[in-house]
C-alpha cells in the first residue's frame, strides 16, 4: 500500500501532479468494504482512511507531516471566509455528488463577494456501514472538483456516527479566499435603476435532485448545474469592476435570493418572467409537480446586479464564458415597492413573488 509521501495512484510519474482521469481509487482499505465505527476512532483505521483515501485524493504531493492545522500563506490583507454544510440526498446524482457540490458551493460563496478561492477545509461525518467504494467515488469527485476549480483542500476531519444516525455522508466545508482592496460587492449596494442579470437556465439542480430522490423520470434526464462560478465572476469583474451585487440562487431559488436582496437594500425588484431562462425539461417537470422554477435550487448560476450603463457589457462578458452562454437580463431594481419582488407575467399582469416559507411542496392537484 502506498504511503502519503509517495505519489498517489494516478499521479504523473515525473511531475507527481495528479491527473484526475488516471487517478485510481486506492482501495481496498484494509479489509473493510464499508465504514465501521473504528474509522472515526482516532486509531489506525482513522489514520489509514486519511493516508490512503483523503490525502492521496486531496493533496497527493504533500510531503509535510499531518499537523493539527494547515498553515497558509495568503496574499494581501482582505480575506473572505465562508462555511457550509452539505446534507444532500441522494449522495450521487446526475451532474455531481455531495463531494463536488461541497466544493462548488463553497467556491461559489467566496466568489459571490468577488473573492478568489484559495483553500477549503473538509469535515466528513460518515455513517457506519457506508460502502467504502461509494465514499471513494465521492472523495474522488470532490478532488476533481477542487482540482478543476484550482482550489486546495488543505485540512479535514473525519467522524463516524452509528448506523442510522446519519445519511451516509455529511460534509462541512470552510473556504478561504483573497479579496482585492477596492472590491465591495454586497446586497446593500443594489440601487434603483440597476439591472438584474441571471447567468443561465434555472432549476436544473433542484429538479435533478428531486427526480432522482423520488424516482421520477422525465423525457430526458435532468442533470444538476453544479459548477464553480469564480472564473465567471472574474471575467465579469474584469469587464465591469463596479458590480453591485452577486448572489448564487441556491436553496429557495431566484425568488428567495431576489427577495433577500430587496429586503437588505430596501429597494424593489421587478423581473419579467418571460425572459427567465428555463430548460423545457425542467419547466415540464415543474409543471407536473406543481412547482415554480423561480423557487427551485441552482448550484451553478449567479445573479448579478450592475449599474445600468454596465449592463450590456456585463451580459457580453457572461455570455462569453462557458457557464454563462444563456445569460439574460431579467429585470431591474426599482424605487417602488421596497422589499418586494414583483414579476411581470406572460399575460402582462403582475404578481408579487414572496419569500418561500419552507421547502416547496408538490401540490395535490
Amino acid at each position: 500500500m502506498s504511503v502519503a509521501t509517495t505519489p498517489a495512484a494516478g499521479a504523473h510519474p515525473e511531475t507527481g501532479h495528479i491527473t484526475m482521469d488516471t487517478w485510481v481509487c486506492p482501495l481496498p482499505l484494509r479489509d473493510y468494504p464499508a465504514i465501521v465505527m473504528g474509522h472515526g476512532g482516532g486509531g489506525q483505521l482513522s489514520a489509514e482512511l486519511v493516508q490512503h483515501l483523503f490525502r492521496p485524493a486531496f493533496a497527493p504531493n504533500a510531503t509535510d507531516a499531518l499537523g493539527d492545522a494547515a498553515v497558509l500563506s495568503l496574499p494581501g490583507t482582505r480575506i473572505a471566509c465562508t462555511t457550509d454544510t452539505f446534507v444532500v440526498q441522494p449522495l450521487e446524482f446526475p451532474g455531481g455528488t455531495i463531494g463536488s457540490l461541497a466544493v462548488h458551493g463553497t467556491v461559489n460563496d467566496l466568489a459571490m463577494v468577488g473573492a478568489r478561492p484559495i483553500a477549503i477545509t473538509a469535515g466528513f461525518v460518515l455513517e457506519e456501514g457506508l460502502p467504502m467504494a461509494q465514499l471513494a467515488r465521492i472523495v474522488r469527485d470532490m478532488a476533481r472538483a477542487a482540482h478543476d476549480a484550482g482550489v486546495r483542500i488543505v485540512c479535514g476531519d473525519t467522524k463516524v456516527v452509528e448506523r442510522g444516525h446519519g445519511d451516509g455522508v455529511y460534509i462541512n466545508t470552510t473556504g478561504i479566499g483573497a479579496l482585492a482592496e477596492n472590491l465591495h460587492i454586497g446586497p446593500e449596494r443594489a440601487r434603483p435603476g440597476d439591472v438584474v442579470l441571471l447567468s443561465g437556465h434555472i432549476g436544473d439542480h433542484g429538479m435533478a435532485i428531486m427526480s432522482r430522490r423520488e424516482g421520477l423520470e422525465f423525457g430526458s434526464p435532468i442533470a444538476s448545474d453544479s459548477a464553480a462560478l469564480h472564473t465567471l465572476v472574474a471575467d465579469l469583474l474584469a469587464a465591469v469592476p463596479d458590480v453591485h451585487v452577486l448572489r448564487d440562487p441556491t436553496r429557495g431559488g431566484v425568488a428567495a435570493s431576489l427577495n433577500e436582496i430587496a429586503g437588505d437594500a430596501g429597494v424593489g425588484i421587478a423581473i419579467d418572467e418571460q425572459v427567465v431562462p428555463v430548460r423545457a425539461t425542467v419547466r415540464a417537470a415543474c409543471e407536473v409537480l406543481g412547482l415554480d422554477p423561480l423557487f427551485v435550487a441552482n448550484e451553478g448560476k449567479l445573479l448579478a446586479i450592475v449599474p445600468p450603463e454596465c449592463a450590456e457589457r456585463a451580459l457580453e462578458a457572461m455570455r462569453a464564458h462557458a457557464l454563462g452562454t444563456q445569460a439574460a437580463i431579467i429585470g431591474h431594481v426599482v424605487a417602488d415597492h421596497p422589499g418586494m419582488l414583483v414579476a411581470r407575467t406572460g399575460l402582462g399582469a403582475r404578481r408579487v413573488i414572496t419569500m418561500p416559507i419552507g421547502e416547496q411542496l408538490p401540490r395535490i392537484c
Binding site: 423520488e214 421520477l216 421587478a270 418571460q274 423545457a280 419547466r283 415540464a284 409543471e287 409537480l289 415554480d292 426599482v334 417602488d336 415597492h337 418586494m340 414583483v342 411581470r344 407575467t345 406572460g346 399575460l347 402582462g348 399582469a349 403582475r350 404578481r351 408579487v352 414572496t354 416559507i357 419552507g358 411542496l361 408538490p362 401540490r363 395535490i364 392537484c365
Partner: protein, 371 residues
C-alpha cells in the same frame, strides 16, 4: 410545451380580456370552483385583466382547505403511531390540525413520507410487510380514481398492511349547497375541468335547471380560464343559464366511464363534513363495504380526538364566498401563510393565502407603476 404554451399566449389573452370588457355591462360574481384555477388566476394575474365589474370568488375546491379538522387530527394520531409509514401528498403536511401538523409529527419521530402517487404507497407496503402503510386519500373526483386504484391493487395483491384514510369530497353537492345558502352571492360557476375529465358533466344539467345558474366547464391555463369567464359573462349578460364545455380538449359529457366504474366499486357516497362549511349531505366518498378492511379509520381506532378550531378563523365564510379573506380580523395579523390558523391560509390554492399575496399586489397598484 405542446398544449401548454398555446394556452398561455399573452396577446390572445389581451384580446379575450378586451372582449370580456366589451361584453360586461354590470357587476357579476363568478365562482371558480377549483383551487387549481385560483392558483392560475393569481399566478398569471388574470384578475388584473378583467373589468372591475367582474368579481371572482374563490370556491371550496381546494382539497387541502376543506378536509375536516377531525380527519386531520385522525391522520396526525395515526402518523404518530410506531410501526406506521404515513404517506401523503406534499401540501397536506403543513395543514394545521388542532395542535400540530404532519411536519411536526415527522420531527417528533413519525415516519411521514411525501409521495406523488398513491400507488407509491402501495409499493411501500409491498417493500415493508412488517409495517403498516397508510395513505391519506383526500381530494375531489380528480384524485379519486388513483386512490381507488391503490386500494383496488392492494386488495387484489392481498396486501394486509395497506390502508387508506379517506376524506373524499364531491363537487356537485358543494355547488348545490352554495346555491342553497341564504348568504349566497355567486351568480355563475367555472366548473373544475379536471374533475369533469373524470366525471364528465352529466351531473350538471339538473343543477343548472334547478338553480338557473350558468356552469361553464373550465380548464386551468390562462386562455382556458379567460374562455370560461368569457362564456360565463356572455350567458349572464343574455340572462341565460346553461352548461357549457370550455375544456373540450380534455372533457367529454360522459367523462371517463372506466374510472367511474372503479370509483363506484371502491367508494360509496355518504354525508361528509367540509372544514369551515360543515356537513353537506351526500357530498363525499368513503370506502365501500367490500373495502372496509382497507379503511384506516376502521383499522386504527383513534379515539379521544377533541378538535379545536381557532376561534378567530373564519375560513368557512371565506370558502362559501360570503366574506372576503380581508374581512377576517385575524387576516394578516395572527394568521399568515407562516402561521396559518385555518387551512385556507396554507395552500397556495387557498383563498386566504392567495389574498395575502394579492392584497400586497393591490397595494402595488396604488403605486402607479407603468405596466
Amino acid at each position: 410545451m405542446k398544449y401548454l404554451t398555446e394556452f398561455r399566449d399573452g396577446e390572445v389573452a389581451q384580446r379575450m380580456a378586451a372582449e370580456i370588457r366589451q361584453l360586461t355591462t354590470r357587476p357579476w360574481a363568478i365562482m371558480e370552483v377549483c383551487g387549481g384555477q385560483t392558483h392560475s388566476i393569481l399566478r398569471n394575474g388574470i384578475d388584473q385583466l378583467l373589468p372591475s365589474e367582474i368579481e371572482l370568488i374563490h370556491g371550496p375546491g381546494c382539497p387541502v382547505c376543506v378536509t375536516p379538522l377531525e380527519v386531520i387530527d385522525q391522520a396526525l394520531a395515526i402518523a404518530a403511531q410506531a410501526g406506521v409509514i404515513f404517506c401523503s401528498f406534499g401540501d397536506m403536511l403543513r395543514v394545521p390540525g388542532s395542535e400540530k401538523d404532519l411536519f411536526r409529527v415527522k420531527s417528533e419521530g413519525g415516519d411521514v413520507r411525501v409521495v406523488y402517487s398513491p400507488l407509491d404507497a402501495v409499493a411501500l407496503a409491498r417493500q415493508h410487510p412488517d409495517r403498516e402503510v397508510v395513505f391519506f386519500g383526500i381530494g375531489f373526483e380528480t384524485t379519486a380514481p388513483a386512490n381507488a386504484m391503490a386500494v383496488h391493487v392492494a386488495r387484489r395483491e392481498g396486501l394486509r398492511n395497506f390502508s387508506m384514510l379517506v376524506s373524499h369530497v364531491l363537487v356537485p353537492p358543494a355547488i348545490d349547497a352554495i346555491m342553497r345558502s341564504p348568504a349566497n352571492r355567486v351568480q355563475a360557476f367555472l366548473a373544475a375541468g379536471h374533475v369533469c375529465s373524470v366525471m364528465g358533466f352529466w351531473q350538471y344539467p339538473p343543477l343548472v335547471k334547478q338553480h338557473q345558474v350558468p356552469i361553464v366547464i373550465t380548464g386551468f391555463e390562462p386562455l382556458d380560464v379567460l374562455d370560461g369567464i368569457l362564456r360565463t359573462v356572455r350567458q349572464l349578460e343574455r340572462g341565460e343559464a346553461a352548461v357549457e364545455n370550455a375544456y373540450a380538449r380534455v372533457v367529454t359529457f360522459d367523462g371517463n366511464r372506466t374510472a367511474q366504474a372503479l370509483l363506484e366499486d371502491v367508494f360509496a357516497v355518504g354525508d361528509r363534513a367540509w372544514r369551515g362549511i360543515g356537513l353537506i349531505p351526500q357530498s363525499g366518498w368513503h370506502l365501500s363495504a367490500a373495502y372496509r378492511d382497507y379503511d384506516a379509520a376502521h383499522r386504527f381506532s383513534v379515539t379521544g380526538i377533541r378538535t379545536q378550531e381557532s376561534p378567530l378563523c373564519r375560513s368557512g365564510d371565506v370558502l362559501q364566498g360570503t366574506i372576503k379573506p380581508t374581512a377576517c380580523s385575524a387576516f394578516g395579523a395572527q394568521c399568515t401563510p407562516r402561521t396559518p390558523l385555518g387551512a385556507t391560509m396554507v395552500s397556495t390554492e387557498g383563498a386566504c393565502a392567495a389574498y395575502f399575496n394579492y392584497g400586497r399586489t393591490v397595494q402595488l397598484e396604488r403605486l402607479t407603476i407603468t405596466r
